[in-house]
Point group: D3
Chain length 247, copies 6
C-alpha cells in the first residue's frame, strides 16, 4: 500500500517531519511519499493561509506523479478536504477528521489539544462542520504554535501537560487528540501524566488512511464527471488545470 502525504503549507521541513513520524507509525509494507505546497503560508496560522492552503493542496495533488492508494491531508484542520475528496479517485483523509474518527471510538468526550490560539475557532467550526460537536469536550490551544513546539518539544511538554490536564479535569474529556505534526511524538510522555488515552494526529491519519484504503475497493468511489462539460480554468498550474478537466 502506498500513501501520499500532502503538506498544504509551504515548509518542506514540516513535510519531512510528518513523513518521518508517519514512517514510524505506518504498518509494515506501507510506502510513503510526500508533497509540499508550492505557494501560501510557511505555516497555517489564520483563515487566509488556511484558504490558500486548500488551493495549494489541490495543486500538490495534481503534481504528484507516482501512484498511491490513499491520500493523507497532513495539516490538522484539513484545508481543502472536501475538494480533494471530490477530485481524487482514492480515499483522502484529513489529519483532523481521522483523529476525530479514532477518538470517538476511544472516548465519549473528545478534546483537541493543539498549538496556536488562532486555531481554536477554526477547529471548533471544523468539528461543527463535521457534525461532531456533540462529541467535542473542548478545543484547547497552547500559545506556542505547532512550529514552535516542533523546534523544542521538551520545553513545550509542561505547557501541553497543563493543557491536556485542563481538558480532562475542567472539560471532562475522556480522550485527547494531540493535533498537528509539531506535537507528534508527545502522546507517550503526555499520556503518562493523565488517565485518559492521548492520541497523535499523524498516527491517526496514517492508520485511518490505511483502513479506508483497505475497505474501499479498487474502483473510484465516486462517479467521474463523464457526462459533464469540462470546467474551464485560467491561471492554474498545468497539472491542476488538467486534473480539473479530467477527474
Amino acid at each position: 500500500m502506498r500513501l501520499l502525504l500532502i503538506n498544504p503549507n509551504t515548509s518542506p521541513g514540516i513535510t519531512e517531519r510528518v513523513l518521518a513520524v508517519a514512517r514510524e507509525v505506518a504498518s509494515p509494507g506501507v510506502e510513503l511519499a510526500a508533497v509540499t505546497g508550492r505557494f501560501g503560508g510557511r505555516y497555517i496560522a489564520n483563515r487566509a493561509t488556511y484558504a490558500i492552503a486548500a488551493h495549494a493542496a489541490l495543486d500538490a495533488l495534481s503534481r504528484y506523479r507516482g501512484r498511491y492508494d490513499a491520500v493523507v491531508l497532513a495539516c490538522f484542520g484539513d484545508p481543502g478536504l472536501l475538494a480533494l475528496k471530490e477530485v481524487c479517485s482514492k480515499p483522502v483523509v484529513g489529519m483532523a477528521e481521522a483523529s476525530l474518527a479514532a477518538a470517538i471510538l476511544l472516548g465519549r468526550r473528545v478534546a483537541l489539544v493543539t498549538g496556536g490560539e488562532a486555531w481554536v475557532p477554526m477547529l471548533e467550526e471544523f468539528v461543527a462542520a463535521q457534525g461532531l460537536s456533540e462529541r467535542l469536550a473542548a478545543v484547547v490551544a497552547v500559545k506556542p504554535t505547532g512550529a514552535d513546539i516542533a523546534r523544542d518539544p521538551a520545553r513545550s511538554l509542561a505547557i501541553l501537560a497543563e493543557a491536556t490536564s485542563d481538558a480532562v479535569q475542567r472539560h471532562r474529556a475522556d480522550v485527547v487528540v494531540l493535533g498537528g505534526a509539531g506535537l507528534a511524538g508527545l502522546a507517550a510522555p503526555l499520556s503518562a501524566r493523565i488517565t485518559v488515552p492521548v492520541i497523535d494526529s499523524v498516527a491517526c491519519a496514517v492508520r485511518m488512511a490505511e483502513a479506508t484504503a483497505s475497505l474501499v475497493p479498487d474502483k473510484a468511489r465516486r462517479p467521474r464527471r463523464d457526462g459533464a462539460e469540462p470546467i474551464g480554468t485560467i491561471g492554474l498550474s498545468a497539472s491542476l488545470r488538467d486534473l480539473l478537466r479530467r477527474y
Copy 2:
C-alpha cells in the same frame, strides 16, 4: 459610500453582469467597483473550483487599489468569506450569507433556489456552517447553471417557476432566495406566480453591505495582528503577500 464587488471566478462577463445588477439596486449615492478573480474556474461548479475561488477572492481584494466602505463577495456560496472578513478592516458580506440574513426577516422557512445541481450539498453545508439549518426549508437547484440561465433568462423562467413552486408547496417555504448573479432580475416575474416573497441575492448583498457599512464605525472591526509575527508566504502575488504581512 463605496462598495467593492469581488467576483471570485474568472469570467469578467459575470463581473459585468453583477455590477450592472448591483447598480440598479444600490441606494442613491453608492458607488460601485468590481474586481474579477485572476485564476480558477470560469464559473464555480464544484468543490475544487470553490476552494480555488477563495484564494482568488483574497488575491482580488489585495489587488484592488481604490477605497471602499464595504465588500460584497459576489458569488452565491461565498468562497473565502471568513478569510476575507479576517484580513479586511471593512465589512465583508457574502451573497449567500446576506440573502440568508434578509430572508430570515421575511419568513420562517427559507428556500434557496439556484442553478446547477452540484450546489445542493455545497449550499446545504454552507447553511449548516452558518448555524442556520433550522431556518432552511430546502435548497432547490435547477439543472441549468447560473451561467446557462444568464444566457437565456426567459427560457429558464418556466423551470425556475417550477422550482420555486416546489419550494413553497412541497417544502413549505415562506420566503424564496434566488441565488446567483445568473438569476438576477427574475425575482419580479417569479414573485408574480407564488404567494411568498422572492428575493434576489445580488440585491440582498448590496443592501446588506450598505447596512453593515452604515452600522459599523470607521475603525477596523477587528484587532490587527500588531503584536503577532508576520506570516511568511511564498508563491503568492505581491499584493496578496503584502496584505497577509500587514493586515
Copy 3:
C-alpha cells in the same frame, strides 16, 4: 420610504427616544412615524408585560392611519413579532431579530448586552426560537433596566463596558449588540474600549427595515385570507377588530 415604529410598551417617552435615535440613523429620504401601546406595562420587565405588549403592538398597528413601507417593532425582544408579520402586508422587523441579522454578518459569536436581568432567559429563548442559538455567545444583562440607563447613560457606561468586555473575554463574542432603546447612542463610546464591533439595536432595526422594504416588491408578501371565514372577536378596539377581519 416611510417607516412606522411601534413601541409596544406604554411610555410615550420611550417612543420619543426611539424616534429620535431612529431619525439620526435613518437613510436620507426616510420618513418616520411612531405609535405607542395604549395598554400594558410602562416598560417590559417580565413575561406577563411581554405577553400583553404583543396585543398592544397589534392594537397600535391597527390604529395607525398613515401609510408606511415597513414596520419596526421597537422593543428589543420583539413581542408580537410573528403576529404582526401575519396581519401586515408590509415587512415588519423586530429590533432583536434585526440586530441578530446584522450581527451574524459582522461576527461568528454574537453577544446581546442589555439592561434588566429578567431579560436573560427571555432573550435566550427568543434566540432559540429564531433558530440562531448556534451563533449566540451569550446574553449579558446589567442590573439597571433600559429605562434606568436611558435616564443616565453616562453613569451606566462603566457597568456596560464591563458587560461588553465580559462578553468578549469570557464568552469570546466577536460582535456585540446593545439591545434596547435605552442603550441607543452608547455603541460609539463602548466600541472604543473593545476590539470587536458594537452595534446598536435601533440602528440595526431601521437599517434592516429599509433593506427589506427595498427588497420586497409592492405586493403583499403573503396571501390574504380571502377565502377564509373572517375571525370574529369581542372586546378589542374597533381598529383591531377590523384589522383581524380584513387582513
Copy 4:
C-alpha cells in the same frame, strides 16, 4: 384538589365543553372551575388571535376569585403559558405541553393531530420552543377546525382517522395526541383503528395538572418579586393591574 381551567378564547361554549370533558376524566375528589377570556378571538385561528389570547388568559386568571391548586391553560397551543407560570404561585400546565409530557412516556415519536391547518407551523414552533422537536414525528392538521369538529364529531371521524393513520404509517409515530377540546372524546374510536396509543389533550392536561399539584409543596414555586419595584401599567383591567403589581 381544585383545578382552574382557563379558556383563553372568548367562546363560553368551548369553556363549557372543556369543563364537561375535564369532569369526566378528573380524579375523584377533584373540583373544577373555569373562566373564559373576555376579549379576543371567538376561537384561535392564527398568530394574532393567539397573541391576544395570552393577554386574555392573564386577565382571566386575575379575575378568578376562588381558590385553586393548579391551573389548566385550556387551549391546545398554550397561549401565554410562560407568563401565567410567572405570575401564578400554583402550577400551571398548558394542554399542549401536558400532552407532550404524557406522550413522551408512551412513545418515542409523537404525532400531534388537530383541527385547522393554520396550527401546523404554530404547533411545530411550540414544540421546538419546548425543546422537544427530537420527539416530534409530525403535526398533522385536518382542514376542519376544532370548532367544526366539535359541532359534528361523528362526521369528522373519517378524516381524523385518515390523519392519525397518516401519522402512524407515513411519519412513523408511535403515539398520537388529539389536540384541542374539539377533539375530546374521539380518542377511543380513533384508537380502535390504529395500533398505537391515542391520547386526548384535555385528559392529559387534567391528569398532569393533578400530578404537578400533588408533587409541588404548598409554598409558591417561585420567588415573588418582593424586592423589585412594582411594574406600573395602564389600560388593563383592575384585577390584572393588581396581579402584576403584587405577584
Copy 5:
C-alpha cells in the same frame, strides 16, 4: 389501579424503601406491588451493572404473577426502559423519564441531583437519548451514593443542599429533581432552602404511572408480534423465555 414496581438491582432493602415511599405518595385506591432483580449489582454504580440491570428488570417483569395497570421501573436512570415498554402491554414509566416529564411542566431548566458521581455521564447521556438535553441545566451528583444517603439522610442534607443550591445559582436551574430512592423524602427539607420547586423521583414516577394508566385505554398499546416468528432464546429463566416468545 395496581402499579408494579420493578427494582432492577438486587437489594430487597431498596425495593422495600421504594415501596414504602411509593405508598406514601400514591393516590387513594392505588395498590402497589414490587419485585426485585434476581441477579446483578447490589446497587447500580457503573455502566456494567446498569447493563445487567436491564436484563434483570425484564426477568423480574416476567416473574411477576399478579395483575397490574402500569409498571414503574424504580431505578433513576431507567435501565431496560425501552425493552420493558416493548414487551409489556401496559404503560411502563421509568423514574428518570417520569421525573423529566414532570419537571418540564414545572420549569424551563431542569437540574437532576443524585448520589454517586459515576451517574453524571450516564444521566447526561440518558437525557440526550430522551431528546431532552435542551431542557437540562445540569446533572449534579454528590459523592455519597443513593445507598449511602438512604442510610443517613439527615447527614447528607447539607451536601445535598449545596448541590441543589449550586444547580440553581450556577446552572440557573428553575426546577430540581432529586433522583433515586435514596433521596426520597428529602424534597421537603431541601425545598425550604431554595426558591425553585424540588421534586422527588419516586413520587414523580408513581404519579406519572397513574396518569398514563388512566390515559391509555385497556387494550394493549402496541401490536403484539402476532405474525412474527417467535424469538428463540437459551439460558434465560423460564418466565423470561416465555415472555419473549409470546409478547
Copy 6:
C-alpha cells in the same frame, strides 16, 4: 496483534461466520479468537434481546481466558458497548460505531443498510446516541433478517441492491454501510451497482479495532476503580462477578 470477537447472541454459527469473514479481512499477523453469548436470543431482533445481549457480552468477555489487544463487539447495533469499554483495559469497538467511524471518512451522508425492520428505530437511536445524526442519510432495512440473508446471500442480492439504490437515490447517501455479519461479503457485488462506496461492517470493525489497538499505548486507557469499594453482585457467572469486582 490479537483481536477478540464477542458475538453477543447465542448462535455459534453466527460466531463462526463473523470469525471467517474477519479472518479474510484482518491484516497479516492479526490473530483472531471469538466467544459466543451463553444466554439470550438466538439472534437479536428486538429491544429485549438487545438488552439481554449486553449482559451476555459482558459475561462472554469475562469468560475469555486468552490475551487480546482489542475487542470487537460483533453485533451491528453494539449491545453493551459502553459497559464493555468501561470494564475492559483494551480498546473495544462495536461493529456499528466502527462502521460509522469509517463511513464518515468516505462520505458526508451515511446510509446504514441492514436486515430486519425492527432495527430501523434501534439504529436511528444508536446513531443519535453516538451524536452522529447529522451525518446519517437513512437507515434502510430490508425485510429478511441478517440470518435470513446469511442463509441465502445470492437470493437477497436483488432486494439489497434495491435498498442501497434507494439509499443513494432517495436519501442522497454518498456512502453505504452494510450492517451485520449476515451481509458480509456482499459489499463487492452491491458496490458494482451503485456509484458510491459500499463498506462492510465486519471489515470496518476489524480495521478499526486494529487501528485503535495500534494507537493506544499498552497501559489501560482508563483508571481502574482502585480506590472505589468493589461492587457486590449476586446471581452472575463467577467470571463476571470477578470481573466486576476487580476491573
